[in-house]
């Protein structure tokens, strides 16, 4: 049927060339299509026609801007979907505008990315969540939307938690009896995979050795348990047999672009149409490999809104380039920026030279 070709194939040198060209073109596209974006570029010293030598020289927007401004590059009557995400600050919500084409493109590229890990076929799928997520059909939480987006990659969807958010051992046992002897997909938020699936599997001696776990959401809620990525992988392998584990990093402001952990667990990798740059939080200069800083994400996917070059509010570090499981940069997320620094980002976006 369809053969998935890897979207983790470009060396850093190849990527630098293609991204510089495509992101420069996208910058001009958004400048022409969005008055607000054009005003921002003018204000931060990036007038039309400026030439760029490196991806890191391109003008970035702080991700927070999407919480305060309705930035879009399509006419109102072509908006097909508006995505929202509540940030850690609660009341503030990013609004991301997609036209039909952008909605299809993000789905296609997410699919190509995930298929690199699981192959072209939908696998039996264990969801470390509860069906109650979808109780109110008209308004899913951000968590519900995330779970639904992943359900396309599975079949025979089975929820680990019952409607009251308690582990449903019978359901999990039934799933494993039916599908446990062949590859199956497990999806969940990191803390839920740990609190509900790991502990259940360990205590009940469940065999997850044919599973492929895809998880995301960060480690903050697991700090009390002293669980980091290495410990997570080690204990799942030791106590449940689960060794195929892929953490991923992504955000609604770059929907469709996900950075996926390689098979050996030594860092997150960028798909061919994206990259990360780590910046010093004071000078905003790009820092060398091994030096922690603020993560900037670039992707050629955002065409209906100017989200192609974003400064995140996450700290991270690049471990190496073209030296791991897949080509390109290999990096980790270190956590959220402290609030003061985070505020600094949006206040000083004019400092982007």
């Amino acid at each position: 049927m369809t053969v998935a070709t890897s979207v983790f194939s470009k060396s850093q040198a190849e990527r630098d060339v293609s991204l510089l060209q495509e992101l420069t073109e996208l910058t001009e596209h958004h400048r022409a299509a969005s008055v607000e974006y054009r005003r921002i570029l003018d204000a931060i010293g990036h007038p039309a026609g400026r030439r760029y030598e490196r991806v890191a020289d391109l003008p970035w927007l702080p991700v927070r801007l999407f919480k305060h401004h309705a930035l879009k590059s399509v006419p109102d009557d072509e908006v097909f979907k508006v995505l929202t995400s509540s940030g850690t600050t609660g009341a503030e919500v990013s609004r991301i505008f997609l036209d039909k084409e952008a909605a299809a493109a993000q789905q296609r590229m997410l699919s190509a990315t995930i298929q690199t890990v699981i192959g072209p076929n939908r696998l039996p799928m264990l969801l470390v969540d509860t069906k109650a997520l979808f109780k109110n059909r008209r308004s899913f939480s951000a968590r519900g939307a995330g779970v639904l987006g992943m359900m396309n990659f599975g079949r025979d969807h089975t929820f680990v938690l019952d409607e009251n958010e308690r582990p449903d051992l019978d359901a999990v046992r039934g799933f494993l009896a039916k599908h446990g002897d062949q590859p199956f997909l497990i999806f969940g938020f990191t803390f839920m995979a740990w609190l509900y699936l790991y502990e259940l599997a360990r205590d009940e001696h469940l065999d997850l050795s044919n599973g492929i776990l895809i998880h995301s959401g960060g480690w903050k809620k697991l700090i009390d348990q002293a669980v980091d990525n290495a410990e997570f992988r080690r204990r799942f392998a030791q106590d449940t047999g689960l060794t195929r584990i892929h953490n991923y990093y992504g955000m609604v402001e770059q929907i469709g672009t996900v950075y996926v952990e390689g098979p050996s667990g030594n860092g997150l990798y960028c798909p061919d149409f994206a990259d990360v740059i780590v910046r010093d939080p004071v000078t905003w200069e790009e820092v060398p490999v091994g030096t922690p800083g603020v993560i900037e994400v670039v992707s050629t996917l955002p065409r209906s809104y100017p989200g192609h070059i974003l400064l995140t509010e996450d700290r991270g570090v690049i471990h190496g380039i073209d030296d791991g499981d897949w080509p390109g940069k290999r990096f980790s997320i270190l956590g959220r920026l402290p609030r003061a620094e985070a505020r600094g980002c949006s206040d000083t976006f004019q400092g982007a030279a």
Partner: protein
């Protein structure tokens, strides 16, 4: 043109999406009606797989954006009415 498949597929759509009687199923597109949202899509895919004894891959699930696309897809997979 196998109308037998079309008839069976129409039945699957009506049942899986719990469509009202007056819906023009043949011309239905994804997200035209509230029943065919992303959650409804999961139910629909599972129902099609059960009815026709096929397994759709991820691309097919994502591309299945209308009744007509679903029908073409089944026919191209060699499903017989």
């Amino acid at each position: 043109m196998s109308t037998a498949i079309a008839d069976r597929l129409r039945g699957v759509f009506v049942e899986a999406l719990e469509l009202p009687a007056d819906v023009d199923v043949e011309n239905l597109k994804y997200r035209d009606i509230e029943q065919w949202d992303s959650l409804g899509h999961m139910t629909l895919v599972a129902a099609i797989e059960d009815e026709f004894g096929v397994q759709l891959d991820t691309e097919q699930v994502i591309d299945m954006s209308s009744f007509k696309v679903a029908l073409d897809m089944l026919q191209s997979m060699g499903v017989e009415g």
